[in-house]
Symmetry: C2
Subunit: 441 residues, 2 copies
């Protein structure tokens, strides 16, 4: 199975766990059978591999998510990077060109596209595999998955099938309705449109060439910024005559808001928290290393991270976005392909961070114009390179770097460092990269 | 006026702003006219000095509060340190002996005793001055202040006066009643007992010598641990025949719980917070440097500090103590006479803290057996002394100290340092103090 996972959005609606560089799909909040926690993207990837160990998974996403994807899924997963956001049709066109031109997928092979954030059981991915087979058979140009509605939702678009068979031609699509209209759609036999579909690669490539002027993947990547924003539904699905829908009646939930996310939590608390006996329908997710004490709260979500604290009535939490847009907060925590960093202290002319490097990984070799830095190693071992000189480092050791000096660190085991930056105009943009140099690295 | 402020308790009921070493009386949460915030103790001290600039203020407290008192009030304020907690009678006896033997206060002078945490206006302190004059006149051995009740409170003991004059002999005392009984007391003309009273110094010293076997202040201080716990009311007030009460009808509130504390807040928010329009009767006190977003909360208090986060229904917040007793959290922030420290990061074999030294102050000269330390100066200037060697320090400079080496730092201007500790068994108890040595300090 070739599967493209659409991983979009900055996930502001799950602030403070998500932010501009840390999207909801990377928050580790789902408890596995072994007691460890995994993120949405880890859960979905694990489920796909359980259904089809040979599945070729490609994640279509923005540049800002690439580090987090490799950090959580390893290096093997395919990543198709959108140079900028251009809605779903250009993203799917780019991913299709990537599969054909970079990954060498044949034109007759089927591709299944689905969002990265469904909260579902294994049978959903079995349905995706069936959808792929259906597309490969070629009975229609486009094969959709339609979810059997469990209530007259106003959140989803609806697909009206021609008949009640497991696979039926699509009669028409309906926009997100109000609850009354949704009831009438359901009476008609309508299905939820979850944005899941499959096609033979050649079909989508032809569509892409019809609508966008490009030669191959590389060309499309280069001119991506000039491509018009347009959704896949509008550009393709709603105009396609040869289109069918396969019913899916299993559990299906998308986890876009705190309200739906907390419904998917197995336990009411993740992290350090104490709840008194008068709390009801309360969920706490606390990423800080200090306790949260909750007393007398009903229908409330409390979420605390290095970025901030949300305390919200569950229904009100769906109106979070405009408030989070106002927050102009320094990024306090980020996962990178090499590890992670956390801001510990911010002063006018200094910044203190904790850097964690995964074993075998390293930072870029770089220098800063406007700041000095001091590394104090707190655990692990590795090698620091400063202006080409290599030294072994371990707990308690200190490396000082004046402004202008080139430096990096290579982790031999998991390496944790406290980095103290001092200087005027401390900024993430003050960074010059160099090729690594140094004897005996 | 000689005034003794009783500053007791660990203030767990205002967690996370207060803890074992940071009591509620030191939290800066009251907005002054200049827009700055002051603490309970700063507010009370300022009010006393406004009424009587010559007032001699002595704070009776435990050792753990001495640093914070001097940090907030300066060095001039008198501090009578209780070697351990022995309830109010021994504390008042010790303070009285301190005033007589250390401060040289005459035996005929009046002493006014009151708790450190009333939230009151200037007229309360004017009443204290009148109470002092009354005691000095000698019309009774003991002169109490009785607050005119505003509602049948179950929180206070009651004083029943013999008549309705401004000053009346006391008929009897009543324990904290239920609301119904409180109503009948009030119908009888009862007053709240706020623990405020005045006496001539010789009266209390005689009582002290009757009940405790000691010679002078120093002797009492030494044997303080062997003294029985007993309250002033039980040991003295309830047995005294020559006792009068002065009415006080002005505003009077003690700030012992979140509920009463938030009632005293001028604005609903201290610190970074956003409230949506559906919040009602919500108070937020946020000491962190990241925002708190509140949506749809009613009658709730949110308080966040380096120690933890409280989210509580206001009524429920009065049941906080047993939960806070369970928290076995490392102290994350403390004010000291020389400045303050804040824990930034805790790992198994390392601890990172930010130390702020006030200008002209210094740490003890000390060493550690089990840990290495690294100082990175982030702002200010001063002098570091390491094994007797003095060096000037400023922003970006680094000082490394191996286990066993003696060290201190002296602040010439306000000095901020990131201290990284590494080693096994990091503990506040691993500290050996030395007399300062070093050429040209």
């Amino acid at each position: 199975m070739n599967i493209v996972l659409l991983s979009g959005g900055s996930g502001k609606r799950l602030w403070p766990l998500s932010n501009d560089i840390r999207s909801k799909q990377f928050i580790k909040m789902f408890k596995k059978e072994d007691g460890q926690y995994e993120s949405m993207v880890q859960r979905v990837y694990r489920q796909i591999k359980a259904v089809d160990p040979e599945a070729k998974v490609t994640i279509a996403t923005s540049k800002s998510q690439v580090s987090a994807i490799h950090n959580q899924l390893g290096e093997e997963v395919g990543v198709c990077v959108e140079p900028c956001r251009r809605d779903t049709f250009p993203a799917i066109a780019l991913a299709s060109a990537y599969l054909h031109d970079v990954k060498g997928i044949g034109e007759d092979e089927a591709v299944v596209v689905c969002p990265v954030d469904p909260y579902v059981s294994i049978e959903y991915f079995q349905a995706l595999a069936s959808l792929g087979h259906l597309a490969e058979k070629g009975g229609a140009n486009l094969s959709l998955l339609g979810m059997e509605p469990t209530y007259p939702s106003e959140k989803y678009g609806y697909i009206i099938p021609e008949n009640k068979e497991e696979v039926s031609p699509v009669k028409t699509f309906r926009e997100k309705p109000d609850a009354e209209t949704a009831k009438s759609y359901i009476a008609e036999g309508a299905l939820w449109n979850g944005g899941v579909f499959a096609y033979q690669l050649k079909y989508l490539l032809n569509k892409a060439h019809q609508l966008i002027d490009f030669t191959d993947y590389e060309d499309l990547y280069k001119k991506y910024e000039t491509v018009n924003k347009i959704s896949f539904d509008y550009a393709v699905a709603e105009k396609e005559k040869s289109i069918q829908v396969m019913r899916f009646s299993g559990d299906w939930k998308d986890l876009g808001t705190w309200n739906t996310l907390t419904e998917a939590m197995v336990e009411p608390v993740i992290g350090q928290a104490m709840l008194n006996e008068t709390c009801e329908n309360l969920h706490v997710i606390n990423e800080l290393n200090v306790p949260v004490l909750c007393m007398g709260l009903k229908n409330v979500i409390v979420s605390a991270s290095a970025e901030g604290i949300l305390v919200s009535d569950k229904e009100q939490s769906s109106y979070i976005k405009p408030f989070v847009d106002q927050i102009n907060q320094q990024i306090m925590f980020a996962e990178k392909s090499w590890g992670s960093f956390q801001v510990l202290d911010v002063e006018e002319e200094s910044l203190t961070i904790k850097v964690t490097l995964n074993p075998g990984h390293q930072m870029n070799y770089h220098s800063h114009e406007h700041r000095d830095e001091v590394w104090s190693v707190i655990s692990g071992t590795g090698r620091a390179v400063v202006d080409g000189k290599v030294q072994k480092i371990g707990p308690g050791m200190v490396v000082t770097m004046k402004a202008g000096c080139k430096h990096t660190v290579i982790a031999d085991s998991e390496l944790k460092i406290i980095e103290v930056q001092t200087g005027k105009d401390i900024s993430v943009h003050d960074k010059i990269k160099f090729p690594l140099e140094g004897e005996g690295i």
